[in-house]
Symmetry: C3
Subunit: 151 residues, 3 copies
Amino acid sequence: MLEARLGRAEAMLDIIALEARYARAWDSGDGNAWADVFTEDGVFEIAAVGDRPPLMVAGRDQLSDFCREFTAKFTGVHVPGLPLLEIEGDEATGHLHFQFVAIGRIAANHSMSRTACGQYDVRYRRTETGWRMLHRLEKAFSSTRSEFFDF
Amino acid sequence: MLEARLGRAEAMLDIIALEARYARAWDSGDGNAWADVFTEDGVFEIAAVGDRPPLMVAGRDQLSDFCREFTAKFTGVHVPGLPLLEIEGDEATGHLHFQFVAIGRIAANHSMSRTACGQYDVRYRRTETGWRMLHRLEKAFSSTRSEFFDF
Amino acid sequence: MLEARLGRAEAMLDIIALEARYARAWDSGDGNAWADVFTEDGVFEIAAVGDRPPLMVAGRDQLSDFCREFTAKFTGVHVPGLPLLEIEGDEATGHLHFQFVAIGRIAANHSMSRTACGQYDVRYRRTETGWRMLHRLEKAFSSTRSEFFDF
């Protein structure tokens, strides 16, 4: 009984750490560390908003490539807010908001800075090596962009 | 002894989830879900800052209306920071900082975007259905506003 | 066994509270409260970035003075994101991201506003009065500054 209650508290704390690891891995451009936050068959999705198409990346190899290619051009800092977590045995769901500040070097004479915020809806699964993300949906709410043309 | 310690940890995690629920409910414009974060007689206050008058909303019906009316015009994303919580039996206090990014449609040809940050001081009470907010004071520190006049 | 697991969960929650206390103490300009977040011989460092020199402040008296002198000119709000914590007995490490919004009165007719974000790498130690910071390294990623010359 105590153990079950403690297990739930530990799951919440482990998922908080997993969310922090997600932010750190992406922001340091470490594709493998970022992919490792997901399950083997984990999926990262970005919802279509405004005139932007949706995006879906599935599986650790693709996740790792996606992170590496993106962060080669755009580096930034995620600030993850407090999560709303619901634990059900070895499965969990989460909802949290974030801010992301980034700079990008689009070409030799074209750079930009961007501030975005939005929300994540996440499904987690407990694996033999700890909690991982099964599915993560990112939905941007705002994106403020400054571009610089260095002629 | 172990149970008392575990109870305190659970209270902290439940209040973290309550704070996340507050953000999610407001940002999805769900007046009833937002009011349900408070006790039946819960109070939401905004402190007077600069030339802005204070505001006070008390009781679930009024809280629900307040959220619905505000979010009909202004939609946004709250990013809640880590809270400083102090638990005393079935009562608790919290202090946390936040950022809020919003867009508003003030009239057909007048819209705006706004970024604000500030702090919350909160008193929580444990009820039969879990932790709720008895009193929440919001104090804005900054508000950056861009207005658009679409003539 | 259960007690060791609970101890780890409590350590994580206490460090989350310590991080919130760090933000609150600085943002309220309370030098002593801010210094008290560190151990007696605690060190706060800011990494060199861009053309900015590094900075190091060691020991509670110096930490308290540093906070008081800075906040006499610049007041602001820190929003700390979720931390990645690793606990090892009475020692711990943490990594978290933050946003900081500030206004400054540089001179009677010169003021500014600033939004910064970045990351912290922290080493914590459990003392007789609870967890404290042994070493905190702040690394800014971005700093957006608006200056106002009131002639």
